[in-house]
């Protein structure tokens, strides 16, 4: 049997073992921070024992920055090597060769799945060996079973067995039972979104590592923030268009929501719950009649996102300027139907006009240039303007100090030499004409 032991160095929840299910189904957690993985049959799938070790350390990094790991034939030896010879892989069937040069203190870590019931006998044994003038572990290997049994009884036998790879500890398959939840208590309450996000990231890292280990996808992430000084709670729920393991996506969405929150008081505690679903492999099918078009668009965006392709929905914005009147969002866009604000009391009403509400209905080119392109006088001369009057005049931002921010434009429809309908504007501040878009 080949056993990988990961020493996470800091106390962990038993559920952290789930993250290592990527390496093998046989994973076991031992209090306070040891993970044992039976990689006998799975190591070849992961690039051999070294590949396993590397992957294990990568996962362990999500839980602890200075985690160490080692591979040996037995769990006790793997644990001992993980501490005293980090990243060591012992020779198959010859793990004792890896003990060379180790001091007697290493005996304390020769535990594996069942730790020493008491540390005192081990320490006593170490002292005794020192009294005898034995200081290296390889020297202890020379003692016979009977000698140890005679002096230390069952404890001596167990130690001898562990030193000679005779204590076969079986790692059973892990059955995940714990929900994907995280909890954080902040010693110093935090009111700033970036700082709070940084504190939550640690928990998100472990939760997503577990999610990955479980080979599940996250459907929804719920965060409950508890305020200091009051009973006020803020509940945030993140649900991307489709289940995903993309931690960055969840983090982005969560951060945006956090930024939008106006916190009454700083946050003292938070709870994070991740709702997982089995991996769902779907074929994108535009002709499938059961889904609404909204679902299909959501899926398309989701697929594009998984393929590292920037794609999203256009959310209409209430801006005077065409280039600022929409933005790319991952959520299904909210309805944009600007209307006058109507306040009612009884049946009486008061209307507060939204003067530029008509902009939402104004024609906009199918291809809008991100940056308007200046046209030379010769190019302007070639254009045929559809009307002498501008179709729209947009002037705003007079309060801006910098001239670049001042905007005062007259928009026209014009036909190009090739008969393409263009959208151009004349900047009334510098009299320059710009091309701003094309119509189909």
């Amino acid at each position: 049997m080949r056993t990988l032991c990961i020493n996470l160095k800091t106390p962990q929840e038993s559920s952290s073992a789930e993250a290592f299910l990527l390496l093998s189904p046989r994973v076991q957690f031992r209090f306070p921070h040891f993970i044992f993985v039976d990689i006998t049959t799975t190591q070849h799938l992961l690039g051999g024992e070294l590949g396993c070790l590397e992957k294990a350390l990568e996962i362990a990094g999500k839980f602890s920055a200075d985690a160490s790991a080692a591979i040996a034939d037995t769990a006790p030896a793997a644990q001992m090597l993980a501490k005293w010879r980090p990243s060591h892989v012992s020779l198959r069937g010859k793990e004792q060769e890896s003990f060379k040069g180790l001091g007697l203190d290493a005996l304390k870590d020769l535990e594996g799945l069942s730790p020493w019931a008491q540390k005192k006998p081990v320490e006593h044994m170490i002292d005794f060996f020192h009294t005898l003038g034995v200081h290296g572990l390889e020297d202890v290997l020379n003692f016979r079973l009977n000698s140890l049994r005679e002096r230390w009884g069952d404890f001596g036998v167990l130690l001898w067995n562990r030193l000679h790879s005779q204590d076969a500890q079986i790692i059973s398959p892990l059955v995940p039972r714990d929900p994907l939840v995280g909890y954080g208590y902040l010693d110093d309450p935090i009111g700033s979104a970036p700082l709070l996000m940084a504190r939550m990231k640690v928990h998100l890292d472990t939760l997503f590592a577990r999610l990955l280990g479980l080979s599940r996808h996250a459907q929804r992430l719920d965060v409950v923030l508890h305020c200091e000084y009051s009973d006020k709670r803020y509940s945030l729920s993140i649900e991307p268009v489709s289940p995903t393991r993309d931690q960055n996506l969840f983090e982005d969405l969560l951060f945006k929501k956090l930024e939008q929150q106006v916190l009454e008081n700083p946050i003292r505690e938070f709870e994070i719950s991740l709702f997982d679903v089995p991996e769902k492999i779907q074929q994108l099918d535009f002709f499938e009649p059961r889904d609404s078009s909204e679902d299909r668009w959501r899926r398309l965006i989701s697929f594009a996102k998984q393929s590292q392709c920037e794609m999203g929905f256009l959310q209409m914005e209430a801006s005077h300027f065409p280039e600022q009147s929409f933005r790319l969002v991952t959520d299904w866009p909210e309805d944009f139907n600007p209307r006058d604000l109507v306040e009612r009391q009884d049946q009486a009403l008061q209307i507060k006009s939204v003067y530029a509400k008509g902009l939402a209905e104004s024609p906009r080119p199918s291809l809008l240039l991100e940056k308007p392109q200046p046209l030379s006088a010769a190019e302007v001369q070639k254009l045929r303007f559809v009307s002498s009057l501008p179709s729209e005049r947009i002037e705003s931002a007079w309060w801006q100090i910098s001239v670049q921010d001042l905007k005062n434009r007259d928009y026209y429809f014009a036909l190009s030499h090739q008969g393409q309908l263009l959208w151009v504007f004349k900047d009334r501040i510098n009299s320059q004409v710009y091309l701003h878009g094309y119509f189909d």
Partner: protein, 1065 residues
């Protein structure tokens, strides 16, 4: 902001200007003008809109504000009688001013209604009243069905969007009076509306016309329009986004621009003239009928008024009516009859009779005091014949202005008079005049700053920094740095805040202006609900009402009348003296001596620091001197630099007075050649400024309007100086007179008004001089009023020999009361009303409990019988009201704090709630000793004064000690107010005192005046601007001050010119 002034004809970039001019429209009337009386939905005033329309050569303008006729009178005035003092291009002769309103219906559609004739106007008023009467402020509740009932004689201009259904429905109601407005403001929305309109024209032959739907008179107001939009939506410029208008095209454009924009449909531009010709109504047509009085059988109102006048005259002139008076009565009665004002006089007489029957003291003031009829029927108390007052100031056949009679009632009982008017005339015939609440400096800065996204903390700092100096203090560019703002943005922000200043904010209720009508009032003017329950206001303010020559009555209030009535009652009760305003001994010598010594704390009008400083120099000897004194210390004469020349002349009594022009002699003779009264200024500008009567009248209106336009004042200045120069009057004198005019525009008194006030001044002075106990008691019972806090009033009474007994639940009533005599005067017992935050019903409960079941045995008995909440018991204890129970106040407060008094408990008042001092587990023996200072502070905190000692008297021993060490160090020791008499002018002094009043009048060129008080009297501190700026925080945050400076003694007045102002620690 400059970019928005760059206004060009909108022409495509590749288009060359046409070689020959385009055809022009032959006329245009802007039918749907909107003004800032649409409250934050427009950026120009009605006057600006009208003047601009005239300047651009329009044939007319319609002012159609949102859901009301708020601004129509101002527009009417601008169109009807342009100011004499502004130079505007002449309007077209037939400039047609139309009025209307844009109504928001409950289905969220809008339509504009314009009355075609008087009947249509009445319908419009009914519709507006209907929409406003049942809705809260700012809201409107109207449906098309309600409008349908009153649709006759109204033009309907339906605001888009339109649908076939809507058009058909409106056409069914309004038939050929329905029009559809089109505008081209270079937005896609207007393009779509035009398309809809043309489609309706083709399908239904709808009548279209062109408008600009203007929200401002000029494109330069676009930034201000954006600012008011943000204020309306409670947002900032950066966040407002599509709430802001897309461009600045919604303004009044030149005829060329309009013709160019509508070159394809010039007929629609000219259509507006045709529509306006259908309107025959003008606001001039509003005929006002005063409610006919309830007359005795067989008598006309004229006969009744004559009868009442002569009966009154017999009483007023007990020794026989003099010939001069008889002639004047006849003259006045004839004029009143000719102008049909009898009912107005009789109505006022009836209201005053009601007041008399209820023992409510009143007095007419203002120009009514010029009328002998008003004097005889008892509306005023001044004999105009004796005072030589001009009746023409009140009513003039030439001016044909309605008479204006203001009557003051006791401030605490005016509500009874108002209720009587409502009961008698009911809300269909009586409503109150509104006041337009406008953006003042602070509010305009605050709101504009919010719109610019300036953080609240900075805004508060800005407002604090402004102090009382207004926006001017912020104009220094260096100030922008203090608030961390870019200088450019700061300039922009201040310019907009200044533009916003004076904009209407909302309607308030006038303090007492009533419009009472014979016909239902809603046929004459829209009426809406006021914030106060059961009150209704018309949509016009007093200036609008005056402009349309409607008669209003002013039911005003005056605290001093309450005080005087209480004095007369108390004199009868305690001293068996029966006095009234009419029977006070005239020109009583001792009273004038007291006035000459400036011992006028608490009296009417001459109690301010400035007045008190003038009195020793003026030394009034008779009633007319008081009239002058009251009018003298007003911004008009002060700003015009008239005060010192007058006082100098009065002290020197020259035999011959020099006049700047011989024509001024008859005008200024009464006041030693110095203009003091408003009417003198008016007469002067006519006599030597070549003003026409019309110009003089406008000047009067300008002077009485706080919101006059800067442009008008510039015109007045130019006109005045030119006129004076023509008559050979020096530039300096002209400048001085202009300053006086400016001052009068802030606050100036006409002679008759001053005379009415002088009567109350004399009465209050007489009472203070001869009955200080009664006067102080009633003055305290009429609080809040006047300049001084109770502490100062009590201190003054104590110095005048009145003994003041402390607050005591065993003897104190709710009011201050007089007890048995001690020496010359009665003892004044402090009333429970003196305790801060003690509700009157609870105080009355104590009084009632004591009067019903006798004195309280002890504190337990008090608690059980009065059942007052613990917080009130604590207030009483802190104010020292339980000291007669022989308890230590601190100990008492300690126990009361821990007492559990549950009002809901049925055990309340039972022995279980026994309150026993000393039995408590928490023995209060550990409570520290309460020093005199601690005790004083406790009493000051609970009622603002202590009758036992003055704070400075307690600090005196400490100040003596400090003085010793100061002397040792060769510094000046502390002096008290009495010491100051002994020293000469320029002596260096150091004084300590409690601040009574801090004043920094706008007329004082940055000077600050503090009245400091110690146990011996007052000290006048004068702080020059540079010292004020240095010690500003100390001046406004500390109540005990140490002043170092030197004495200035002029004409019997002792001032301390401060060099250092320090907190007394």
């Amino acid at each position: 902001m400059g970019i928005l002034t760059n206004k060009n004809l909108p022409i495509s970039p590749s288009r060359n200007l046409p070689a020959k001019p385009l055809p022009q429209a032959r006329g245009f009337v802007e039918l749907i003008g909107r003004t800032n009386f649409s409250f934050l939905q427009s950026a120009s005033s009605p006057e600006e809109m009208v003047e601009k329309a005239m300047e651009l050569g329009y044939n007319g303008l319609g002012v159609c504000d949102l859901n009301g006729l708020y601004g129509v009178v101002r527009g009417f005035q601008a169109a009807q009688s342009p100011s004499h003092f502004t130079t505007l291009p002449a309007a077209k002769e037939d400039f047609h001013y139309l009025i209307g309103t844009e109504l928001t219906l409950t289905d969220e559609t809008s339509l504009v209604l314009i009355p075609m004739n008087k009947q249509g106007y009445s319908h419009l008023c009914e519709i507006l009243t209907l929409g406003k009467r049942q809705a809260s402020k700012g809201f409107s509740k109207l449906s098309l069905e309600q409008i349908e009932k009153y649709n006759q004689h109204l033009l309907c201009l339906a605001i888009p969007p339109w649908s076939d259904d809507r058009y058909e429905r409106l056409e069914k109601i309004f038939d050929n009076r329905l029009y559809l407005p089109l505008w081209r403001d270079l937005t896609w929305e207007s393009h779509e509306f035009c398309k809809q309109g043309f489609a309706l024209e083709e399908k239904y032959q709808a009548q279209l016309f062109v408008t600009q739907r203007p929200f401002m008179h000029s494109v330069e107001r676009k930034p201000l329009f954006d600012v008011v939009t943000c204020i309306l939506h409670h947002t900032t410029l950066d966040e407002a986004k599509n709430k802001l208008i897309q461009n600045g095209e919604r303004c009044l454009k030149s005829m060329e621009d309009i013709s160019y924009l509508w070159q394809d449909r010039l007929d629609l531009v000219e259509k507006t003239v045709e529509i306006s010709k259908r309107v025959e109504f003008s606001l001039n047509e509003i005929r006002y009928r005063y409610p006919a009085s309830s007359l005795p059988a067989g008598m006309t109102s004229s006969e009744l008024l004559r009868d009442l006048t002569y009966k009154g005259a017999e009483k007023r002139y007990a020794g026989g009516i003099p010939e001069k008076v008889l002639t004047q009565i006849e003259y006045e009665l004839n004029l009143i009859k000719d102008l049909q004002y009898e009912d107005y006089f009789l109505t006022l007489k009836e209201i005053c009779d009601f007041a008399t029957s209820k023992n409510i003291l009143y007095q007419g003031r203002g120009s009514a005091a010029n009328s002998v009829v008003c004097f005889c029927i008892g509306l005023t108390a001044i004999d105009p014949i004796q005072m030589d007052l001009l009746f023409e100031r009140f009513i003039s056949r030439e001016r044909r202005e309605p008479p204006d009679i203001d009557i003051d009632f006791e401030h605490s009982r005016r509500e009874e008079v108002i209720q009587h008017i409502y009961e008698k005339y009911n809300e269909r015939h009586a409503a109150m005049v509104c006041t337009v609440i406008r953006y003042r400096s602070r509010m305009s800065i605050r709101e504009t700053a919010k719109v610019f996204g300036i953080p609240l903390a900075k805004i508060n700092a800005m407002i604090k920094f402004m102090g009382r100096d207004g926006i001017s203090r912020l104009l220094d560019p260096a100030v922008s740095k203090e608030f961390g703002l870019n200088p450019e943005q700061w300039k922009m922000f201040l310019a907009l805040a200044q533009q916003l200043r004076g904009f209407p904010r909302h309607l308030g209720i006038h303090s007492g202006g009533f419009l009472i009508t014979q016909d239902p009032i809603t046929e004459m003017v829209p009426v809406e609900k006021a914030t106060m329950d059961g009150r209704y206001v018309i949509q016009w303010n007093k200036d609008d009402v005056d402009c349309l020559r409607l008669m209003k009555i002013d039911v005003l209030s005056l605290g001093m009348l309450t005080c005087l009535r209480k004095c007369f009652d108390l004199l009868r009760q305690h001293k068996d003296i029966d006095l009234s305003l009419a029977t006070l001994p005239p020109d009583e010598e001792k009273t004038y001596e007291m006035i000459g010594r400036a011992e006028t704390v608490g009296v009417f009008q001459i109690e301010s620091r400035a007045q008190m400083n003038t009195l020793p120099r003026m030394k009034p000897k008779n009633f007319y001197d008081l009239v002058i004194e009251i009018a003298l210390i007003r911004p008009g004469p002060l700003q015009g630099g008239m005060v010192h020349p007058f006082l100098k002349l009065r002290q020197n009594q020259p035999t011959k007075i020099k006049y700047a022009h011989p024509k001024l002699e008859p005008i200024l003779k009464k006041t030693l050649g110095v203009p003091i009264f408003q009417e003198q200024v008016m007469k002067m500008v006519v006599a030597v400024g070549d003003f026409s009567p019309g110009e003089a009248d406008e000047l009067r209106r300008v002077m009485s309007s706080a919101w006059r336009k800067q442009i008008t004042m510039v015109g007045v200045e130019q006109r005045l100086k030119a006129g004076f120069a023509k008559n050979g009057i020096s530039v300096e004198y002209a400048e001085q007179i202009y300053k006086t005019v400016e001052g009068f525009a802030n606050y100036g008194f006409p002679e008759s008004h001053s005379a009415s006030f002088a009567l109350l001044t004399y009465a209050s002075c007489y009472l203070k001089c001869h009955h200080p106990d009664v006067f102080t008691c009633c003055l305290l019972n009429s609080q809040p009023m006047g300049f001084y806090a109770p502490r100062t009033i009590i201190g003054e009474a104590q110095r005048n020999g009145v003994k003041v007994a402390p607050l005591d639940v065993q003897t104190s009533d709710y009011d201050y009361t007089l007890e048995e005599k001690d020496g010359h005067f009665h003892i004044l017992r402090v009333g429970l009303r003196s305790i801060y935050g003690l509700p009157a019903p609870l105080a009355l409960r104590i009084e009632q409990a004591r009067k019903t079941d006798g004195a309280f045995k002890d504190i337990t008995d008090f608690i059980q019988r009065t059942q007052l909440p613990r917080s009130i018991l604590l207030k009483l204890a802190a104010a020292g009201a339980f000291e007669s129970f022989n308890t230590n106040t601190r100990e008492l407060i300690w126990h009361l704090e821990s007492l559990s008094l549950d009002q809901q408990s049925f055990l309340w008042g039972h022995p279980k709630e026994q309150f026993e001092l000393g039995d408590d587990e928490d023995e209060p023996e550990h409570l520290p000793f309460e020093s005199n200072w601690d005790r004083l502070r406790r009493e000051y905190d609970s009622k603002g004064y202590s009758v036992e000692a003055h704070p400075i008297s307690i600090l005196r021993s400490y100040l003596h000690g400090k003085s010793q060490s100061l002397i040792a160090q060769r510094y000046i020791p502390y002096m008290h107010s009495d010491d100051l008499k002994r020293f000469k002018t320029k002596t260096k002094v150091r004084v300590a005192g409690l601040v009574s009043i801090t004043q920094r009048p706008p007329t004082a060129k940055g000077m600050c005046f503090i009245t400091l008080e110690d146990e011996f009297g007052f000290m006048n501190i004068v702080i020059h601007p540079e010292i004020y700026q240095k010690y500003r925080p100390t001046i406004y945050t500390r109540s005990l001050l140490e002043i170092q400076g030197h004495l200035e003694k002029v004409g019997g007045i002792t001032n301390i010119r401060a060099e250092r102002v320090l907190p007394l620690t």
